[in-house]
């Protein structure tokens, strides 16, 4: 059995039955990374010492007959916007090229406490700003399904690593779709919990009212296991919710019979038939599984991109003010005075997309424009969130496409930021409303090469169990390989 294609449960079984050690599982992944990551380029850095120490610790627990954590021996990748103590955390930005985090993110701490083995840090768009991972300050990650295409973004490295079996599961971050969209483009599962479900402590801030940490996996069950581990109140993040975390095991045992599935007309109008055909088959499959399919309307959908790009850039311009060359990160070696030092440091340290967003965000917050742009967007955000609250009066979950397009060619879209932004249309809505969303594979396109299509499912605030129930029932019914 190839140790790099195991599910989380299979890894635990292998350890418990002594078919393999955690070190065996780790080494199998490291060997695969050596062979395959030359072309995929999912990882920015590996941390072999930390990984080996953790794998050995798990193996000692096995030897001593101690109970194993739910993620025992599971090799995991972590997006490089999430802090790992003593290991470089760069946010794929030159400005943090040599930054050594002095502490671990809470999510990372919880993964390791559950027995997970952190293998390395993955590539992404600089400061998670982008939808293709082409905005990385270091290099581009390739989609393992077709190396001439993007893996999506911004968590493209974390998605590609799991899709190429370079990790069993991974962590990404999602602000406007940065987990769900690359999951769709790479043909795996990716999930964002409710805002506040997972602690953001140790997640480098991009847009604080929209940022989430969440899991990638090759199955719904794996994603549920990781989410369950990292979710829950953390005193170090005042926005983390005190709502208790349900065990998701019960939800995964349930079928989807009687679940009311809303299909919002706005998400299917003018949809690329390559994606639309698969989605229709996916929805038909849910109906066959006993779901009640209900057409619904989310009338403010068309305003979501405009609303999102005002709010996220405003927050980014404020959050990224901290990169000033004083306390950490890059400092320009030439400057005339303090102000000049700030300007040269930021000009040389940030890439073009980050600068564009800082400029936009500063503009929409600046005197004279604040009401017209930022405040207006905050009001529209209320309308978008209200659409969902009203829709969930009648349905339990909402099913939509994840991305309007399958994985596109590297370099194809880099010169037109607005076009790149518009492709986030189906994911930013849930981010603005703060509700949970998951993307699951829904077959492949028909042309050559056949590219993965993603189906997205939303649920009410803190109803992750329902979301996972439907996603899992879909997977069990063969939805991933539909069409």
């Amino acid at each position: 059995m190839d140790l790099t294609s195991l599910t989380i449960d299979q890894i635990r079984d292998h350890l418990a039955s002594r078919k393999a050690t955690a070190v065996d599982v780790l080494e199998a992944h490291q060997e695969r990374i050596r062979q395959r990551d030359k072309e995929v380029r999912a990882y920015l850095a590996l941390c072999p010492e930390r990984a080996l120490a953790q794998a050995r610790k798990v193996d000692r627990q096995v030897a001593a007959g101690e109970p194993l954590g739910p993620l025992a021996g599971v090799p995991m990748a972590v997006k490089d916007v999430i802090l790992t103590r003593g290991i470089r955390t760069t946010c794929a930005s030159r400005i943090l090229e040599n930054y050594l985090a002095p502490y671990d993110a809470t999510a990372v701490e919880r993964l390791e406490a559950a027995g997970a083995v952190i293998v390395g840090k993955t590539n992404c768009d600089e400061f998670a700003m982008g939808s293709s991972t082409e905005n990385s300050g270091f290099f581009t990650t390739h989609n393992p399904v077709d190396l001439t295409r993007v893996p999506g973004g911004s968590s493209g490295g974390s998605a590609a690593a799991v899709a190429a079996n370079l990790a069993a599961a991974s962590l990404g971050s999602d602000t406007g779709g940065s987990i769900r969209q690359p999951a769709a483009l790479c043909g795996i599962v990716g999930m964002m919990g409710t805002y506040g479900r997972v602690s953001r402590f140790g997640l480098v801030a991009f847009a604080s009212s929209l940022d989430h940490i969440g899991p990638f996996g090759r199955s719904v069950r794996d994603v549920a296991l990781v989410l369950e581990t990292i979710a829950g109140r953390d005193p170090k993040d005042s926005t983390s919710a005190a709502v208790p975390v349900e065990g998701y095991q019960d939800a995964l045992r349930r079928n989807a019979r009687g679940v009311r599935v809303g299909v919002p007309t706005e998400y299917f109008k003018g949809l690329n038939p390559e994606i639309g055909d698969n989605l229709q088959k996916g929805i038909d499959l849910l109906a066959k599984e006993g779901c009640a399919v209900v057409p619904i309307s989310l009338p403010h959908t068309d305003y979501a991109i405009a609303c999102y790009y005002i709010i996220c850039t405003a927050e980014a311009s404020s959050n990224l003010a901290r990169y000033d060359g004083v306390r950490y990160g890059f400092r320009s070696s030439e400057y005339a005075d303090l102000r000049d030092m700030y300007q040269k440091t930021r000009d040389r340290g940030f890439g073009p997309e980050v600068k564009r967003r800082i400029l936009l965000g500063t503009y929409v917050l600046s005197s004279g424009y604040y009401d017209a742009y930022y405040l207006k967007a905050q009001r529209v955000r209320t309308l978008i969130a209200r659409d969902f609250v009203e829709a969930f009066d009648d349905v339990d979950v909402i099913v939509t496409p994840t991305s309007p397009i399958p994985a596109f060619k590297l370099g194809e879209r880099v010169d037109d930021p607005l076009q790149m932004y518009l492709a986030d249309i189906y994911t930013v809505t849930a981010s603005l409303a703060g509700i949970p969303g998951i993307s699951v594979p829904c077959g492949k396109t028909k042309g050559e090469p056949r590219l993965p299509v993603g189906m997205q499912i939303f649920a009410k605030h803190f109803d992750e169990a329902r979301l996972l129930q439907v996603a899992h029932a879909f997977e069990k019914a063969g939805g991933f390989e539909i069409a």
């Binding site: 919710a241 005190a242 005075d337 967007a377 607005l418």
Partner: protein, 100 residues
């Protein structure tokens, strides 16, 4: 074009970004088309709508308050470990106040 070069330079200054002429030439039409696109929000009458200032789901008790107790976090050398320039237990910056 609604956004002028002067506007862009002014915003860049506010954001402590030094933009080269080349960057400015590239960014200006891009920023302008994005700002033009987001005008579509004006199609909506929002006079009766409150801004969404809080995303956090209303919980039974406010979880954001904690006891006001001091606790140990980082040692000075840990806090300074990533500083581009440091000395005498402090971050070093270019001279800020000129002496008469």
């Amino acid at each position: 074009m609604a956004l002028t070069e002067k506007d862009a330079q002014y915003v860049a200054e506010l954001a402590h970004l030094e933009l080269s002429g080349e960057e400015l030439k590239k960014f200006l039409p891009q920023l302008d088309s994005i700002l033009e696109y987001v005008q579509k929000l004006n199609e909506l009458d929002t006079t009766q709508v409150d801004p969404m200032a809080q995303v956090t789901y209303p919980a039974a008790e406010n979880p954001s308050l904690r006891a006001d107790r001091t606790k140990k976090t980082f040692e000075q050398d840990e806090a300074l470990a990533n500083a581009p320039e440091k000395g005498a237990g402090s971050f070093k910056v270019p001279r800020v106040i000129e002496r008469e």
